[in-house]
């Protein structure tokens, strides 16, 4: 069984982004870029399924600018067998990415597609579910445990109030939550090996997908600033402030 894993190149999670002064967006020039953390968990999960012998090939896919090749090389250094870049300089919104992935699903016929539950830049949390709908596949989002047996997967999901377990028929879409696994460190020999792995590049037109954005960003602004309050010397003062100044208890 093949697994397709989608990986997104995003601003590194340690970077605090700044809003541009003309309010046209956030400034990402000269900012460290990394693989979306949830997608790293997705690649790791695919590798674990391969190591268990459930999966034969792991294909990493990224959609976006030329530099997404670096993200794909990272995925291949974790262990993905090959990479596919759908290259475009256009702004890609989740629906467009889901359509591109659907086209690749048709081409590659994977038994499972694993994606991060959300990207930490646009915080949308949409692509996996959209792909599942377009490909008419069942979905198990926010996964914290995945077990594949035969033509079914048992997936434990993080939901409000606890956990729930679903059984889904393959092919299916799974999106990862934080507790699914802890991604391995990438070793230098594996980085070297990844450079020699196959990486195919397509354009959205090659896949017959219209990626024009549906949602227009009119402006991007700073959130309302929360000013720092005061330090209190002891618990008694704290209780007094909460009771008599803030009046919240």
């Amino acid at each position: 069984m093949k697994v397709l894993v989608a990986v997104k190149r995003v601003v590194d999670y340690n970077v605090k982004v700044r809003v541009k002064s003309d309010n046209s967006g956030v400034d990402i020039a000269n900012v460290k870029m990394s693989m979306n953390p949830f997608d790293e968990i997705a690649v790791e999960e695919a590798m674990r399924l391969k190591e268990k012998g459930v999966v034969t090939e792991v294909i990493a896919v990224s959609c976006g600018v030329t530099q997404c090749q670096e993200t794909l090389r990272t995925a291949m250094a974790i262990g993905a067998d090959r990479g596919i870049l759908v290259e475009t300089a256009e702004e890609l919104q989740p629906l467009a990415v889901a359509k591109l992935l659907k086209a690749l699903v048709d081409k590659e016929q994977p038994g499972l597609v694993i994606l991060g539950k959300q990207a930490i830049d646009d915080d949308c949390n949409q692509t996996g579910q959209m792909l599942a709908a377009l490909a008419d596949m069942p979905q198990a989002t926010f996964a914290s445990k995945v077990e594949v047996a035969g033509d079914k997967a048992s997936v434990t999901r993080e939901v409000d109030g606890g956990l729930e377990t679903l059984s889904i028929s393959l092919p299916a879409v799974i999106t990862t939550d934080l507790r699914l696994n802890e991604p391995r460190y990438v070793t230098l020999p594996n980085i070297m090996k990844a450079k020699k792995k196959q990486l195919d590049v397509f354009k959205p037109e090659d896949l017959g997908v219209d990626v024009a954005p549906r949602i227009k960003t009119l402006k991007v602004t700073e959130p309302a600033k929360r000013s720092a309050g005061i330090k209190v010397p002891d618990v008694a003062t704290l209780v007094d402030k909460l009771k008599n100044v803030a009046k919240v208890i």
Binding site: V19, V26, F38, P94, L95, Q118, D121, D122, D123, N125, Q126, T127, G128, Q129, M130, L131, A133, L134, P138, Q139, A140, T141, S154, D160, G161, G162, L163, E164, T165, L166, S167, I168, S169, A172, D177, L178, R179, P213, R214, I215, K216, T217, L218, K219, V220, T221, P223, A228, G229, K231, V232, V235, A236, L238, V239, K241, L242, A246, V248, I249
Partner: protein
């Protein structure tokens, strides 16, 4: 122009997130209908009809809808989607699971996690863990939206007298089935609806200490318990207690952060709280930059002292 709100419910009652979503729908300015898709959910549908501002409740009932499977719930929404210009879900685990499926089938973009309605096609939403607010405009015929509940007040649970219309339940997709649920049992208020939240971080050191220190404080304040990602990852607290960019977004009247350093991802989940208290022994901890009242102290001493003083 008519909006459809997908209710979050447990078949017997309507969950609070639905009420905030109704307010967001009302802000769009159209008629507000509510879909209650469930099994033996008559009581929930009746409760939805009481919500102020709701003009019609559509009640779909069947075994296929009992577990809230995304495939079946999405099919139910799609069956009536053509009647609506706006389809709104609460941005909860359930809402986030289903909404994009509906949007993709309608071939429209989705606007996630809105915090403000500027006009029927223009909305504000936080991006980059809330470090920027984007104002976005949708050109699609139908707007599929998830609503960040902290951005909107709750609609009143009484005052409405909507008609309840029943409709046939969608058939089963046959591709997904519900196996079981492990519900975290406690008598505390729900995290996203609580007026007071006490939240613990990595500094607590173990699950035992987390419970030993945080539970008495929560009990004393009648508070919900939250946790930082670090505390959840380390196994000190259950996953559904995680407050932050990728966990729960909360905005209680009072948020007490104990031993939480205040990474931007955590701040993203709680910085809209009315009053923030930080107890941390590191004077440089970023949490102090958003705290109304900061107490620089060892939490193992300060929290029991606080419990005693309350």
């Amino acid at each position: 122009m008519t909006s459809l709100v997908i209710a979050e419910h447990d078949n017997a009652t309507i969950k609070g997130a639905t009420l905030n979503t109704v307010t967001a729908a009302a802000a769009i300015g159209a008629d507000v209908h509510v879909l209650v898709a469930g099994h033996n959910a008559g009581a929930a549908a009746a409760a939805a009809a009481q919500i102020a501002g709701v003009s019609k409740v559509i009640h779909a009932d069947g075994a296929t809808l009992e577990a809230g499977l995304a495939e079946n719930v999405a099919a139910q929404v799609l069956a009536i989607a053509s009647n609506y210009t706006h389809i709104l879900f609460p941005a909860t685990a359930a809402g986030k699971n289903v909404a994009p499926r509906v949007a993709a089938k309608l071939d429209v973009g989705q606007i996630s996690d809105i915090t403000k309605v500027d006009s029927p096609d223009t909305f504000e939403r936080p991006i980059y863990a809330g470090n920027a607010i984007a104002t976005v405009q949708s050109s699609d015929a139908v707007k599929v939206i998830t609503v960040r509940t902290t951005g909107f007040d709750a609609a009143a649970t009484t005052g409405g007298s909507a008609a309840v219309e029943t409709t046939a339940a969608a058939s089963d997709s046959g591709k997904s089935s519900f196996v079981g649920r492990e519900v975290t049992k406690n008598d505390r208020p729900e995290l996203t609806a609580a007026k007071i939240i006490v939240s613990g971080g990595r500094a607590l050191g173990s699950a035992e200490k987390f419970n030993e220190v945080m539970i008495p404080l929560a009990d004393k304040l009648g508070a919900a318990i939250g946790a930082s990602r670090a505390a959840v990852d380390a196994g000190y607290a259950a996953n559904d207690l995680q407050v932050g960019q990728t966990g729960k977004i909360v905005a209680p009247q009072l948020y007490v952060a104990c031993g939480i350093s205040g990474a931007i991802q955590h701040l993203a989940g709680m910085k809209d709280s009315k009053v923030i208290v930080a107890i941390n022994k590191d004077p440089e901890a970023p949490i102090f930059s958003v705290a109304d009242f900061g107490l620089e102290a060892d939490l193992f001493v300060a929290v029991p002292e606080l419990v005693a003083a309350l």
